[in-house]
Symmetry: C2
Subunit: 203 residues, 2 copies
DNA sequence: ACTTGATTTAACCGTGCGGTCAAATATACA
DNA sequence: TGTATATTTGACCGCACGGTTAAATCAAGT
């Protein structure tokens, strides 16, 4: 009962996640999810009351993958350079494993951004920690003077952007050669922190 | 006749652009465009045969704004540092004027990326020029060794990302204070090239 | 075996979508 | 002014959407 219950629910969630990730909320129909899950459309409404409820669950799940190590990495006692290396490595690898996530999140954040920010805070992701960590490093003279918000956005942007713009970039840069683009992304795990640290390290 | 014609067509285009930019292709209905344009829904089909045709026109128009100065900037005989400054300044300013463009383009590129790349090439945007320009600078020893593709993606990403992620970033960093976020974006016009040039300049 | 409650199905509902069409109106020219 | 042509409208179509419901099926306890 409960076992079968969990299983059905998970089958639905998995199918819904795939379709929502690919097509976004508006582009997805309950029928398509039901087909992919191999069951009747009514069953989706039996387990999740509405398309909206189903989506909220999926979206929070996906978004949650972004959050947890955010603060953790920045609260360690390692150097800022190592933190940036760890951050880049961890998040780029995660997005290599889940390449549709960035576009999906960027696409859907405009719908209800506030609830997302609230969810973030509930999960314990406090960006102030990161801002503070950067500020401290500047005061200690370990890195050059820079607006911490600018640096933080640089770091996040450099990691996420190549995934969000993949359909264009892979064609423009590599004639749509998947292998080459995968290699390009993998190299960014080292390239991004190198690029940043070169910029902020005192000469 | 032609004058009124142009006017109606432009009214439609403008309304369509606004709605499409905000809600994307799937989230937009012909009825809403007609309402915003203050006319009958059938008139949209009279001027543009279908939702798809109307969208294609809008999208190419919007996308075209991104392209023209792309190659131009990189083909001048200025230094690579100045090119990066010009690029950042021009494109960030353009996105400040059209803040919905980045999310819109990123959202819709997955639908038919190839036709976009073709359109780009038709417009004379040859990314190879930029890649070559960077390669030359490396060979001349003006900047450090770096994969030109990586540097190019860094530049573009640093410019675009803060616009694509605005709903989240403005809340996380500035408690959703529009004025503060506008200031943050304006500062990036100087901050991005400074950040990049610091990283690639030989010590 | 029978009953009870949870799960799954098929048939259906109202709504809003993109799109069509014939009639009405405005425009231009003779 | 009359007529042909371009523009604009309102009524309508078929369809697929999200969602509901009542009946069928399944699982478990007695």
């Amino acid at each position: 009962m409960t076992a079968q219950d969990k299983k059905t629910e998970e089958v639905i969630m998995k199918a819904a996640r795939n379709v929502f990730l690919k097509k976004g909320y508006d582009g997805t129909t309950m029928q398509e999810i039901a087909d992919k899950a191999g069951m009747n459309k009514s069953l989706l409404h039996y387990y999740f009351r509405s398309k909206d409820k189903l989506f909220q669950g999926i979206f929070l799940d996906v978004f949650r993958m972004f959050i947890p190590r955010f603060s953790e990495i920045f609260m360690s006692d390692k150097s800022i350079f190592e933190k940036i290396e760890e951050f880049s490595d961890h998040y780029i690898e995660m997005m290599i494993q889940n390449p549709l996530m960035p576009s999906f999140v960027l696409r859907e954040i405009s719908t209800n951004p506030q609830s997302l920010v609230d969810a973030m805070k509930d999960m314990g992701a406090k960006p102030e920690f990161m801002i503070e960590a950067i500020k401290t490093e500047i005061e200690k003279g370990n890195i050059i003077e820079i607006d911490p918000s600018q640096l933080l956005v640089n770091l996040i942007g450099l990691c996420i952007f190549p995934f969000a713009a993949k359909p264009l970039l892979s064609r423009i840069l590599f004639n749509n050669d998947e292998k080459l683009y995968a290699k390009f992304l993998a190299e960014r795990k080292k390239e991004v922190p190198k690029f940043i640290n070169q910029s902020i390290r005192k000469k």
